[in-house]
Symmetry: C2
Subunit: 332 residues, 2 copies
């Protein structure tokens, strides 16, 4: 009952653009069956996550196909990372409109192919439909963890140290740069920030190395304060973080020097896809070693408290609490 007659059937579309992405996995059944088959060793738990991106809501309409595909896959991989899972496979649902030209589809599929190689995952199934509205993309990603070992949000304990990977705020500032809201920044910094917005780096290797070390973890998708609040709510603890210890990139510093009011974006902006995690104080040395091993900054930004209201308290350099204007972007 499609309103528009198809220019190309679903099976031709799969053949032309997507079959190659499933070629290495027998269980994908060549994308020719109704289902895929996933085996799993009985020493592992399957970890499942799903995320949807809508044009104009989760990315600007003019975003290149390459960047949409990368973000779609990587935000899901970031969820796997936050549980300490390794990536294995994914399904892909595309609701496409007239913007999905041959060139667009080729760029989209090529981007997925590159990420499959980088992250060791494979397409196992999907659905392709037409939409009269905004393009809508859903990935369901599958990973695995040793049975019963997955990192969770509920294990943080008072006294645990809070760490974050990489730098925060780049993605939010990159979006503002694309929207013309960042003035007076070097071209290199601008490109760095936009790249951080469009091509998040899921911290899969870090997550797997945190198994048995971290007491809780979450990826920063809604904003540092909001995501840490999820850990606090589920763990029934509080958190205190120090504003001036939040790790910033040089590009972000360059922007904040000119527009210090944008610091709230760093704490509340989201889309960083770094990991925030908690570790007992005794494991601090382990984290320093891990930072060196992975070549990834891991910065201590605060500690878990026994606050019975399960709040996230942000303190300035003088130790006094700071008000954040927006406690994190709330989707929908």
């Amino acid at each position: 009952m499609a309103a528009n007659k198809p220019e190309i059937g679903e099976f031709e579309l799969i053949d032309r653009y997507f079959s190659a992405l499933a070629a290495s996995e027998d269980g994908a059944l060549g994308l020719q069956d109704d289902c895929a088959i996933l085996g799993l060793p009985d020493t592992e738990d399957l970890v499942v996550t799903t995320d949807t991106l809508v044009a104009g809501v989760h990315f600007l309409p003019e975003t290149p196909a390459d960047a949409i595909a990368a973000k779609l896959l990587r935000v899901n991989l970031s969820d796997l990372a936050s549980m300490g899972a390794g990536g294995r496979a994914y399904t892909l649902s595309l609701a496409l409109n007239e913007n999905a030209t041959d060139a667009w589809l080729r760029a989209f599929a090529s981007s997925l192919q590159r990420d499959q190689e980088t992250y060791g995952i494979v397409l196992v199934g999907g659905d392709t439909v037409s939409t009269p509205g905004s393009e809508t993309f859903t990935v369901t990603a599958f990973g695995s963890v040793p049975k019963g070992q997955g990192l969770r949000r509920g294990g943080a304990r008072p006294g645990d140290q809070i760490y974050v990977s990489g730098t925060l705020g780049d993605a939010a500032l990159g979006l503002l740069a694309l929207q013309g809201k960042v003035s007076d920044v070097s071209r290199a910094s601008r490109e760095f920030l936009i790249n951080r917005h469009q091509y998040p780096q899921p911290r899969l290797e870090l997550g797997q190395n945190l198994l048995g070390v971290a007491t809780s973890a979450v990826d920063v998708s809604d904003g540092l304060a909001a995501d840490l609040a999820h850990i606090c709510a589920v763990s029934r603890v509080g958190a205190e973080i120090k504003w001036d210890q939040v790790p910033l990139s040089n590009a972000a510093r360059e922007v904040l020097d000119q527009q210090p009011e944008l610091m709230s974006e760093v704490l509340g902006g989201g889309d960083d896809y770094e990991l925030v995690f908690t570790v007992p104080t005794a494991e601090a040395g382990e984290i320093e070693g891990l930072s060196g091993k992975l070549g990834l900054e891991l910065t201590k930004i605060g500690r878990i408290s026994d606050d019975t209201e399960h709040k996230v308290l942000v303190c300035g350099s003088d130790g006094a609490p700071v008000q954040i204007s927006d406690a994190g972007y709330r989707h929908f």
Copy 2:
């Protein structure tokens, strides 16, 4: 970067409408984590499928929430059925717009709850986002089959009998009735056909009983001829089906008596979600017994041939080939 400020946050929305759907499954982690955890006995393969429905494309915009939820879940369960899998769990991605009122969300969730009980499945995760366009719904469903036993499309052999469950064409005629294109039919028949369109019956029990019996299976989603063509293509065989042996409901007969030209909808219309499957002639007795056991008509409609062009040939009562105007609805 949502255009509209949310009236209700994603976490409140999950709490209010969807948490109850995940309550019975520990691995859903109360829908409070980024991922769900699925264990699986090592005697089973996990079977995965995903389907997306878009308002105005896959269902009429005025369709009640209850029927949308039912169809969304059941078209996925039908895919599991076609592989002989039992249902276990599902994830749910919702891209919602202003039509998603409190009453709408309650009706949608209640419908899912009823189907969870009927089909023995449970919600384990999802994503909820806003869309400026058409509502878009994606379910990824998980089932399991004994290791290596899943029904496939590629096993049909020349000489195999072709069977179909239930009756065909009801859903296509039900859609036409909703669109005012069916004249002169009794109210009871009209309601029967619309019900068949809105509330498909996934044949999970049949599928599981076909393990080790059927050589191939597919569910009728694109239309009998088109879906059987998938079996032919993957199995590298042909098929001959007899027009006058295709099982029809009394309601469909009532419509066809008045509008015989709609017979092409029965063969090409799709959305029946019955199973078409092939069995070696020696197993015919097995199928008759199964029909009695399940209380479900299983009708022999033709046979697999060795046609090297892998075509589906539809023959009239005189045995001569019949031309079908539309070889099945092609989504997208």
